[in-house]
Symmetry: C2
Subunit: 346 residues, 2 copies
């Protein structure tokens, strides 16, 4: 990759934005120039990137003149307003918010699964999927390719960093107050803008994002709808129950799947071992299985606890863990840009 790109990062100081900057440096992304954009409130503040101090600029439509790739991670309303402006100025937008994900003219991409969808970007915008969806489809794709896939039932164990830096701070403050015997306050989780807030320390909360009219949360509906779109399986049966747990970073998922064809546990191991982005951690005689504490700051999607269902030879149970800020967000966004460069689409 010798082409050098003009990059804009929108929302660089957030939990995901920070990781995007780390990954741009670590992966030696070919940067000709980089700018950091935010609201007027943050404009003027300094920001460190690869040993140089930059000044955060106010994000306006004109900010995107001359930009090749714009990485958005500043909330849905910012993307709604500015992503089309950036695209209109010729930038390829890779948007980490949910705003455009289900737009039929916006590809929703996990490169290991549907890299080909990057060839057609009618709006100049590519959506980065929901964090819990990305790691699941990355692990399911190799199985779907070999054995077909008809049904997915997932229960998640999601880290607080998926709700941003304020949620991480809240978990830490609650833990400290618990240990000090003080009152535990809750102001952020499950959803900052919702009415009630509950402690996450020493608790689990079966609500991520607000509720939709059908009784599922938006997070659950994202997993259901985005999985079908990314895998291009509109008839796939998908169900999700999304739960927040007191973990800083690293989403875990207990996933039950049904395949089109019968398979053995050995078949599943063989299909997953060596699959792109996947690391099989499954050696029960040595108590080896994925755990979020050990997946934090790691790139792969880890799969373990692989078991055949005891009643259905086409049924399997998997335990899938990945760092939600990396493969679930920042890393996947950068991988989208890298794939486009490799495929001469940028």
């Amino acid at each position: 990759m010798t082409k050098q790109l003009n990059v804009a990062v929108v929302g660089a100081t957030g939990a995901v934005g920070t990781k995007m900057m780390e990954k741009l440096i670590e992966r030696n992304f070919p940067i000709k120039s980089i700018k950091f954009l935010a609201s007027a409130r943050s404009a003027g503040n300094p920001i460190e990137f690869n040993g140089t101090t930059y000044k955060i600029e106010e994000a306006t439509p004109e900010s995107f003149e001359g930009v090749d790739v714009a990485l958005f991670s500043a909330g849905g309303s910012v993307s709604a307003a500015l992503a089309p402006e950036a695209a209109a100025r010729g930038a390829v937008v890779i948007d980490n918010t949910s705003h455009f994900r289900m737009d039929p003219e916006v590809p929703l991409v996990v490169p290991e699964v549907n890299r080909h969808a990057l060839k057609t970007i009618p709006k100049g915008i590519i959506a980065n999927p929901n964090c819990s969806t990305i790691q699941m489809v990355a692990a399911l794709q190799p199985l779907r390719e070999k054995f077909g896939l008809t049904k997915v039932v997932v229960s998640t164990y999601q880290a607080v960093s998926g709700s941003g830096i304020a949620a991480i701070d809240e978990l830490k403050a609650q833990s400290q107050n618990w240990e000090a015997g003080k009152n535990v306050e809750a102001n952020v989780l499950p959803v900052k803008s919702d009415v009630k807030h509950f402690p996450i320390a020493r608790n689990v909360i079966p609500q991520i994002d607000k509720f939709t009219d059908n009784g599922y949360t938006y997070e659950e509906m994202k997993m259901i709808n985005e999985t079908k779109k990314i895998m291009e399986l509109p008839e796939l049966h998908v169900a999700a129950t999304c739960v927040r747990v007191p973990v800083v970073s690293g989403h875990s998922e207990s996933v039950y799947i049904e395949l089109e064809q019968e398979a053995t546990v050995q078949d599943i191991f063989a299909a997953l071992q060596g699959a792109p982005g996947i690391v099989v951690q499954d050696d029960i005689t040595n108590q080896t299985y994925p755990m979020p504490l050990f997946a934090e700051n790691e790139d792969p999607t880890y799969v373990g606890r692989i078991r055949q269902d005891l009643d259905n030879k086409k049924g399997f149970h998997l335990w899938i863990v990945a760092d939600n800020l990396l493969k679930g967000a920042a890393l996947n966004s950068i991988q989208i840009a890298e794939a486009m460069l490799e495929d001469n689409l940028l």
Copy 2:
């Protein structure tokens, strides 16, 4: 209930034993006499019960002479050795360990589900089921009665108190060390007697109890086998993934079920509301759903997040929470004794 009973508690100082004593007092269990039995190591130590100080006695076969009800919660090996001795001396044994649960001559009882099984106790021993199994079958029984039940897929979020007081202490010590920036040590979880130990603070561990040869843990196989036995549905499809989370007390379960007949969400609500031992906590417009932090020290099994599967009209998703030391252990044991008294079986 006017009959007064001679009671023995084996393992009174453990996490479950302590709760058994609390429930005996709170529920005004008709006690004529009570004795507290333990290993020789603990014998002679004082123990408080209902304002009186007792001396812990060494548990021997002869300890059970004259005992009407013996509540065992001191580990499988103690039950294996002494429960038959107690029964031989005429005591009804209610055993909280897993040792006798799958013995075809030992009823495995959740009174709301299979109270009738208390009528036949050929060995004088009744087994109290696994904690995560009890709350699940209590919630599924009213649905099974009305609509039939064909399939259960459960993923658990289990509290550390299920591993005893040492695990509670370990979670607290790890949390304190995290917050103080010190090293986090792990010596108890996932299984004290297993080779490796992992931190549970800020982590989730997909291993509860040791692994069996088929890749499932003993905890998962307990949920599978005990559910079939208690519900008397040997052909029921049951699958379980059991996971430890950093919660002190209160097991949560994400449960997918398939019924024999089609039903609506309203049907499910109606079947669960007013069912014995069940409290429906499900009002998503007010963010009302069960959480373990709020179920601690409470008797009911809470059910919420009731949703119909989007692809299968016979499929439903439930979120079930109960205090694993109460309904999952101590309370259910006492309820077994109370049911036998009411039914003139004691």
